[in-house]
């Protein structure tokens, strides 16, 4: 057992102690955090410079759709 092994085992034991529910929370936290971040993006970075101004032209909507599906998947499976 080298110091690298000892360190690796130490890290492994820490993560072994994390319940799977908390791990799921980490996955969901990342996705929810991104979802909120997308909602706060300024309009100039999500709307086209010219052309259509309909709701489907807003990238924020589609990014939220993609992330919402992810949140549902990781909450359910």
């Amino acid at each position: 057992m080298t110091p690298i092994h000892a360190f690796g085992e130490f890290v492994r034991r820490i993560f072994m102690a994390v319940p799977l529910g908390a791990a799921r929370g980490l996955f969901l936290g990342l996705l929810v955090g991104l979802f909120v971040w997308v909602l706060t993006l300024p309009a100039e970075s999500t709307w086209p410079d010219t052309g259509s101004r309909g709701p489907t032209a807003n990238l924020k909507v589609w990014a939220c759709v993609a992330l919402a599906i992810q949140i549902a998947i990781y909450a359910w499976l």
Partner: protein, 535 residues
């Protein structure tokens, strides 16, 4: 015994191949300058780039291999398409891709030279070029081998398992696919690659969808599928413990699969996936060819929406196979056997076309991007010639041809090797430099103090550390040293990427702090926050 492929199957296959060639050559007539060839003249629409992103990411081996992995390890393999893609694509869409697009670069290494210098550009470009060159051969070889062993496309004795196709030797099949792909890629460059990818993406999704729909119909729906997997797990007792995990995405640290949640979250979601979606030239290049900054962003968002569907059509069939065909010895045969069982004559041609579409859409992208790196980061960089010239097109076409010949040679050489671990080795190779490349890229974008010395040595030491971890984890080395394995899971490439990323960050920070800073005026436009503030 199944019916052989019928006339309709051959018509579908022929129509797909003919359509691809026609489209590629038609687009090739518009290529006039190097910028047309390597960046499609910055004329690509968001929907085409988004579909191309997805098609490039899914290779021929994925269509069969992901289902096989789901059959073997369960749904956790879908993490690679979900948390391993969607978050990085969304962040890439709004942070990195517009930044690169505005910079006007043709390659990521070119951006790194502007930020750090030619040493970092050349080191990163060399790594990508080496990887892509080898990966091209491996993709051809692995797909042909998989087709030979699993699809029943027995190229040697004309028998095609339950299906039959005009047979040929395995190397001939490699050459045939490579020549068709190489021909339209040489003719049309990035535009041909992207527009044929659109066709290939549609064919790929359609073909895989057939297996999913017919499979779910036979099993009795999603609910019945989940119940039958659970029944199998309950009935298996302790003899097959991983079966219990087949319905789960998040697996414990001590799982018997290569997908513990720690590796998936820290290695895949936070390092490998961002490195792939914002640093892989074969991926980013098509967004750099988008006709506006907004369309570059939109392409990534559209790709992320599409990505949600992919595991459903490539991984879930593996679970269906587990229920309908529980005794398949080689998991990679699960999907082809399932297709054989489920699809009527006339639809098998569609599945074969989906397999070829997935293979060709990846090969053409890596071919075009390897060529772009060679021409842009080495030939044009060191000869001083401009990209805006007819000469660059011909050099690009010649390089594409040479790369194709190299890939064919490499693939054929692989057929002479004994053992089947080479594909896994090359998957691992990618994890050697993705973490270090991401660390250098992030340092360059977000930390003004990061300099050329720190980036260069951080990258070199990071790659060396990943190679050292891989070497130290080999059974022969472990036995020789009398060590226990460094990692407790099989194929720990996710962990290589984590540690090599961390080591690169540390070396980058220490060396940068100990050496002179870059000129603030020179790097200011390349830093994310400075540029955003000035916008």
């Amino acid at each position: 015994m199944r019916d052989p492929l019928g006339l309709v199957d051959y018509v579908v296959l022929f129509a797909y191949l003919a359509g691809t060639l026609w489209l590629g050559f038609r687009i090739g007539r518009r290529v006039a300058t190097g910028r047309d060839f390597f960046l499609a003249g910055r004329s690509l629409p968001w929907w085409a780039v988004g579909m191309s992103l997805v098609a490039t990411d899914i290779g021929g081996t994925d269509v069969i291999g992901v289902g096989g992995a789901a059959y073997r390890h369960g749904l956790a393999v879908a993490n690679f398409e979900w948390i391993g893609c969607v978050p990085a694509m969304i962040v890439g869409a709004f942070v990195f891709i517009p930044h690169f697009w505005r910079s006007g670069v043709a390659t990521i290494p070119e951006f790194l030279e502007r930020r750090y210098g030619v040493g970092v550009r050349s080191a990163v470009a060399l790594c990508w070029l080496t990887f892509m060159g080898c990966n091209l051969g491996i993709m051809l070889f692995a797909s042909a081998k998989m087709a030979h062993a699993s699809l029943g496309l027995d190229f040697r004795d004309v028998a095609i398992g339950d299906m039959r196709l005009a047979g040929c030797e395995l190397p001939v099949a490699i050459v045939a696919v490579a020549l068709v792909t190489g021909a339209y890629t040489m003719a049309g460059g990035l535009a041909a690659v992207v527009y044929t990818d659109v066709l290939q993406c549609a064919v790929m999704i359609g073909g895989c969808l057939l297996v999913l729909v017919f499979g779910l119909a036979e099993v009795g729906g999603i609910g019945a599928l989940s119940e039958r997997i659970a029944e199998r797990a309950a009935g298996s007792g302790a003899a097959v413990p991983p079966l219990i995990e087949h319905n789960e995405l998040i697996l414990p640290v001590d799982t018997a699969t290569p997908f513990p949640w720690t590796g998936v979250f820290f290695g895949l979601a936070l390092i490998l996936s961002p490195a792939y979606w914002i640093g892989n030239q074969a991926i980013v290049q098509r967004a750099l060819g988008a006709r506006s900054e907004f369309e570059a962003k939109a392409s990534y968002v559209w790709g992320a929406v599409l990505k949600n569907v992919i595991p459903v059509i490539v991984a879930v069939p593996g679970l269906i196979a587990m229920v309908l065909l529980p005794d398949v010895a080689d998991a990679d045969q699960a999907i082809p056997l399932l297709a054989n069982r489920l699809l009527p004559q006339g639809m098998r041609g569609m599945f074969l076309a989906a397999f070829l579409a997935a293979l060709m859409s990846s090969v053409d992208s890596y071919l075009n991007s390897a060529c772009t790196i060679f021409v842009n980061d080495f030939y044009l960089r060191f000869t001083g010639k401009p990209i805006e010239g007819r000469g660059a097109v011909w050099v690009g076409r010649a390089t594409t041809g040479a790369m194709m010949v190299w890939a064919i040679g490499f693939a054929v050489a692989c057929t002479r090797l004994q053992g089947s671990g080479i594909y896994g080795v090359f998957q691992t190779l990618m994890s050697f430099f993705q973490g270090p490349a991401l660390a250098v890229l992030l340092g360059g974008l977000f930390w003004a103090r990061a300099n050329r010395h720190g980036a260069f040595w951080g990258f070199v030491v990071g790659v060396a550390s990943a190679v050292a971890m891989f070497t130290a984890n080999q059974p022969s080395v472990l036995t020789g040293l009398g060590w226990h394995p460094l990692f407790q899971i099989a194929e720990p490439f996710l962990y290589f990427s984590i540690w090599s990323f961390v080591i690169t960050v540390v070396v980058l920070a220490v060396v940068s702090a100990a050496t002179p800073a870059e000129s603030a005026d020179r790097i200011a436009p390349l830093l994310y926050h400075r540029r955003r503030r000035n916008a």
